[in-house]
Symmetry: C2
Subunit: 399 residues, 2 copies
């Protein structure tokens, strides 16, 4: 059964018959797309508008796994100014057995002091009571403005309202409830060899994760032998490979839940493909983004060096404006690589070592490659362009 | 004798009676300003238009110290993709006894292969012949587009033309000849206790020096006991403290020349003040810049940590757009500091630790301070805002 996918990506045009719309995502054999609102069997989600965002927009979401034998993995931002919900998850969640998550958007509950911690704990407690779970089985995530006290009464009233909406087809309302400056919801539901993976993500700015970006929730009814390792590996190949503006968020959270009720393993590659597609949707929805570039750095002395050069290139405002201006300006790429390797020996990086041709074309997904000539390591990064709209959004989005 | 200063700075309005127009520059007692075109006694400069920039704009400059007993110091970029003139200076200049410099603007002669090295050597040789000096006594500097072959014949013809214009009042034409996207020339000539320091600088984009930024030439007839140490110290407090876009140039060069003919030491603090003023003019002339912010990071565990946090803040596009938008958005500052300290223990950075009030005002030079609460080290950085004009310049300035 294959139903029409309704997910909107601003850059990647829907190819016929497949959910994976970027040329960089490899779909596993036999994958079929389901209605993106349909969660993996055994999961339910709901959402409500509690008034943080205003205008009746959904801003509280709840997602729950009905199977008691859930296994889970939770990755959290490494930012030293981590938000209250991140701190609460670190200290009060059993990362291996998370049954549910409660989320609000419009307020990050970051840099909100002791009150912020109390508020995040209250959210966790209210959701746990409402769902009949232990508090440690509920993850809390929040996203939005930093440093603004959370209107906790509104959120506490919203949680049971979202709980009342819980449904196996609740993925769409949940994806909507976690949006901030996103141009659209990011979600999918895919089935392969009888196992479903559904996922919802949000993110548009403050994107350069230490390991994850902003919020992403992934559900499967397949078994995953080592959820933490599987999630870490999938995130390393997806959310850790994107940068909108080089800024690591205070709230990054990725939650994987597996009910195991399908009685078989989640097919290899499916989790990786889903996360990469959603990560690409996040970078493509980078604030103001009109293009996403994949830079591949080869022949580095070691992997960390390749990574550093790739990030120096992807985060250079000169390269990002050249991407916007369709300018195959390899000189700026040479400069950025040379800065990352300051003080090191480097062969001259000219057009024989830098292929920047695709920057000039009309392709929404150009590729760029650099050969450093120092060894055999490589790394890649997906980054968006820097343009007037980014300035407009961030100069006008005031506290 | 105090003559009118004609230097134009886009942000710092001229205060009456003093050259130092930023509140951040401390003028030494008894300093008097001379015509900024007047070089320190014993120095001459000249310039010509050789056709690189076109439109009759000056693009070749020569500066020379007539005293055989010159002492000098030369600081060069650490960028691993250093330009040909930087490589030539490293290998073929006697840094301690540089009598002259030859410069062109409009072409950086960077990433230009073996031919670029030959061209830079040819410039050095031609200037040396023209001035009757050893080649090793002539520094070469270039600035402009990267990866474009230098029109060497034009430059070689321009060098004797610039040499024919050599004059003790040649500072202004020389400052003009080194400009690229600069809004105006950056130069000064100051006298204190009978010793003159004159200087010319350029720079507007690709500004976050490893130790220096773009090009700066400084002359004095005073004695400087340890030119390299004095220059390094002055640069650490000036050009190393600014960032326009976080990008270390391939061509950064700072040359200090001292004739010693005044028979007394260059007054303490004068060199530091001159370089800080010029560095502030460079960041104030950052591409599109409308404001310059000074961020002070205090109470860090060690100096390198303070420095890292200051740079994370000053280079964050979210902070830079907030500076443009007059938004005292301390949340973005908290996030940037937390990213720089990822994985470390950090007290919550809220409004009690971040003073961002001045971002909201009309002041062209707002100050920002952050107390990390981790130790006693501190660091500061001057950075410009990020706005539409930066995008326009860099998306349209194609190769």
């Amino acid at each position: 059964m294959s139903e029409a996918a309704s997910t909107d990506g601003p850059l990647f045009p829907a190819s016929e018959g497949t959910f994976f719309r970027s040329r960089w995502v490899q779909a596993p054999d036999g994958v079929e797309q389901l209605d993106p609102a349909r969660l993996a069997p055994g999961f339910r989600a709901g959402a409500a508008a509690c008034g943080i965002k205003g205008g009746g927009e959904k801003d509280v979401g709840v997602i729950v796994c009905d199977a008691e034998g859930v296994s889970s993995a939770l990755l959290l931002t490494r930012n030293a100014s981590a938000a209250a919900p991140v701190r609460v998850c670190r200290e009060h969640c059993d990362g291996a057995a998370i049954r549910a998550a409660v989320v609000n958007s419009g307020n990050a509950n970051a840099a909100t002091g002791e009150q912020g911690i109390k508020d995040a704990l209250a959210m966790q407690q209210r959701a746990a009571e409402d769902l009949g779970l232990e508090a440690s089985a509920v993850a809390v995530a929040e996203t939005g403005a930093i440093g603004v006290p959370l209107p906790i009464q509104h959120v506490l009233e919203g949680i049971p309202q979202a709980g009342a909406m819980l449904s196996p087809e609740g993925g769409a309302q949940f994806a909507e409830a976690i949006m901030t400056t996103d141009r659209g919801p990011k979600q999918c539901s895919l089935r392969c060899d009888g196992v479903t993976v559904s996922a919802q993500a949000k993110g548009a700015g403050m994107i350069e994760p230490g390991f994850a970006t902003m919020l992403c929730f992934v559900q499967t009814n397949g078994e995953i032998a080592k959820p933490e390792g599987a999630l870490r590996s999938a995130v390393e190949g997806s959310f850790e490979r994107i940068s909108v503006d080089g800024q690591m968020s205070t709230n990054d959270t990725v939650l994987l839940q597996s009910s195991g009720e399908a009685g078989k393993s989640t097919p290899e590659g499916l989790l990786d493909a889903v996360l990469l597609q959603l990560a690409l949707e996040v970078v493509a929805d980078g604030e103001g983004a009109t293009r996403v570039c994949r830079v591949e750095v080869r022949d580095a002395a070691k992997p960390a060096e390749a990574e550093e050069v790739a990030r120096a290139i992807g985060n250079s405002p000169l390269v990002k404006t050249a991407l916007f201006g369709r300018d195959p300006n390899w000189g700026r790429i040479s400069q950025a690589a040379g800065q990352a390797l300051a003080g090191e020996e480097l062969p001259e990086l000219g057009p024989d070592r830098i292929d920047a041709k695709e920057l000039a074309g009309d392709e929404a997904e150009p590729e760029l490659s650099v050969r450093l000539g120092r060894g055999k390591a490589s790394a890649h990064l997906y980054f968006s362009d820097l343009n007037h709209e980014y300035i407009r959004i961030n100069a006008e989005y005031t506290t």
